[in-house]
């Protein structure tokens, strides 16, 4: 009765005779009767009026679109030239250039991915992946799986770890430095660091515990900033959709300097442990003492907040659980203090917040809406 190869015999419409002529007719009748919405007559006529008006207007301005096109192309060429000249002048590190030319990635965006030097993509199903480099970068361990890659003598091989919303990952680099990557982040780094420096590029948020090596300074490029490090633990938050970059130093010392953009003329700034630097889009920097735990506890699956605005907490949750959360300005300004355990479900966390603030939340069309009662 069940013969899967049979259907080619009835291929004209793919509806196997099997369903019986009557049943088949019923199905087709239902398909034909469904999804036949019509534009209301008035709107249909109005839309045609609009289209027809556009048609009569075209011939009268036939000459200038050409001129406009030419001008646009000229402008494009000139600005591309200027851009090229500028970027040469600023001497962007090869790492940054490499990261910039990488296209947004294809494939299933919900999963963590490791991209090796030859563009080989490894998809990691674990949403809290752990990756360790062994033996001078040639081989790495992803959770329990071992992977090796070919390295080149003359040129650095860059690897990229992409951690989408809803995931986090822990990465141990070839030099022993540990990096906790938060949700919605990307780290680009050479599989093996060069002899005289260690450089990585971050988009999003990460906590770094850097292995001390005086002979090879460690730098993180994030947004327009270069964070130079000597054995240190610190957190960087540089999401493209946030309008500031934040660096929080847990221990040791780091030096901050803009390597491009408006801040390049400014002197480097040394950050003290327990301090945070906030760099605005206008390259203004504000430094002040903060509670370190509030900025680094995410790596242990917690939010440790003290008087943190709800808007900020909800943004973190939204990234961590990969779930859009909307709130109005008034509720967003409320603050919350205490520890939130992110190992539970998002609803657990939201329940706690709702119970201890005057808020409530509801789910509507896949979005969570949080507002004051």
């Amino acid at each position: 009765m069940d013969n899967g190869n049979n259907y080619h015999d009835h291929e004209e419409d793919g509806m196997p005779e099997a369903s019986g002529a009557l049943q088949r007719d019923r199905m087709l009748a239902i398909v034909r009767a469904s999804g036949n919405e019509q534009l209301p007559d008035g709107e249909k006529a109005a839309l045609w009026q609009k289209i027809a008006t556009g048609m009569t207007a075209v011939p009268t301005r036939r000459w200038w679109p050409q001129l406009l096109k030419a001008a646009a192309i000229l402008l494009l060429v000139i600005s591309a030239g200027i851009w090229w000249y500028q970027s040469r002048k600023e001497s962007i590190p090869s790492l940054v250039a490499f990261a910039a030319q990488k296209q947004p990635l294809s494939g299933d965006s919900a999963l963590t991915r490791m991209i090796l030097g030859n563009n080989r993509q490894l998809v990691i199903r674990n949403n809290r992946a752990s990756i360790t480099y062994h033996g001078s970068g040639g081989s790495l361990q992803i959770d329990s799986q071992r992977v090796s890659q070919q390295l080149k003598e003359d040129k650095p091989v860059f690897n990229t770890l992409v951690v989408p919303y809803g995931n986090i990952a822990v990465l141990q680099l070839e030099d022993g430095t540990s990096v906790w990557l938060n949700a919605g982040s990307r780290l680009v780094y050479p599989a093996v660091f060069s002899k005289n420096k260690r450089e990585v590029l971050l988009e999003g948020e990460a906590y770094f515990d850097v292995q001390q090596e005086a002979a090879r300074p460690f730098s993180v490029y994030a947004a327009d900033m270069q964070v130079a490090v000597l054995g240190t633990a610190f957190n960087i938050s540089a999401y493209k959709d946030d309008n500031s970059t934040q660096i929080v130093l847990a221990s040791g010392s780091v030096q901050l300097k803009a390597f491009r953009g408006r801040g390049t003329d400014k002197a480097p700034v040394q950050l003290q442990p327990g301090h945070r630097a906030v760099i605005s889009a206008q390259a203004d920097m504000e430094v002040g003492a903060v509670d370190i735990a509030a900025f680094t506890s995410w790596k242990d699956g917690m939010i440790d907040a003290s008087h943190m605005p709800l808007s900020e907490i909800l943004k973190k949750l939204s990234r961590y659980y990969n779930q859009p959360i909307l709130t109005d300005a008034r509720s967003g300004r409320e603050t919350f203090s205490g520890k939130l355990n992110l190992k539970g479900t998002m609803n657990d966390v939201l329940d706690i917040i709702a119970a201890s603030t005057s808020g409530k939340y509801e789910e509507r069309e896949n979005k969570i809406i949080f507002r004051t009662r």
């Binding site: 009765m1 069940d2 013969n3 049979n6 259907y7 080619h8 291929e11 419409d13 793919g14 509806m15 196997p16 005779e17 099997a18 369903s19 019986g20 009557l22 049943q23 007719d25 019923r26 199905m27 087709l28 009748a29 239902i30 398909v31 034909r32 009767a33 469904s34 999804g35 036949n36 919405e37 019509q38 534009l39 709107e43 249909k44 839309l47 045609w48 609009k50 289209i51 027809a52 556009g54 048609m55 075209v58 947004p104 990635l105 294809s106 965006s109 989408p164 919303y165 919605g184 959709d241 859009p324 909307l326």
Partner: protein, 206 residues
């Protein structure tokens, strides 16, 4: 899309010549089909009307570059679908949620039994059978619904459906076949004995 009393070839020639009358006829015939098709992807009426507007506006400005012989309906759907996707991508880009990819809009269609025109329809029990069938059909995955809709509601061929959905013709056939098979299984497990029997009778020669 009905082009009654019009020769499709002549109409297309006139479109290419920029004849407004021809555009008006084509719009009259196609607007509802395009509108219904767009609703399968997103409910934003204004955005849909913009897409239809742009489709015809571009058809007019690009008229000299149009292929001399096309299947008009298929041509419109292909270029319209591209436009819908772009519009959807743009709007989801502008909305609050920043996706890492531009997620594809999902095909959405609820099969309804009550509008079915049939000689059988007068009988009450037939209406009940159709209702049940529609419920089962609504459980199909989006892509399979899409194939059924394009093939049997829009009247495209398998080859055209495959091009439109950017899949191969065999995949397209297999998906359609699978839809039918799933329906059979679902209905087979249906608790209503009379209906089960009816199906068994229908499926005997499968």
């Amino acid at each position: 899309m009905k082009l009654s009393g019009v020769n499709e070839e002549t109409l297309w020639q006139n479109i290419r010549a920029g004849d407004q009358q021809a555009f008006s006829i084509l719009y009259e015939a196609a607007a509802d089909m395009l509108y219904a098709y767009a609703l399968r992807y997103f409910p934003d009426k204004e955005m849909i009307k913009d897409c239809i507007h742009d489709l015809f506006a571009d058809l007019y400005t690009q008229r000299q570059n149009l292929a001399p012989q096309v299947n008009i309906k298929f041509y419109l759907l292909v270029s319209f679908r591209r436009r819908l996707k772009a519009a959807h991508k743009k709007s989801s880009f502008l909305s609050l949620r920043e996706d890492m990819t531009g997620a594809e809009p999902l095909f959405q269609l609820t099969f309804e039994a009550q509008d079915v025109q049939s000689k059988l329809i007068a009988r009450e029990e037939e209406q009940a059978v159709l209702q049940r069938l529609a419920v089962e059909m609504n459980k199909l995955p989006a892509r399979q619904k899409e194939i059924l809709y394009l093939k049997y509601n829009c009247g495209l061929s398998y080859e055209e459906v495959a091009v439109l959905m950017q899949i191969t013709v065999p995949t397209c056939r297999t998906l359609a076949y699978r839809a039918i098979r799933q329906l059979r299984q679902e209905l087979h497990a249906s608790p209503v004995p009379a209906f089960g029997l009816l199906l068994l009778a229908c499926l005997k020669n499968f």
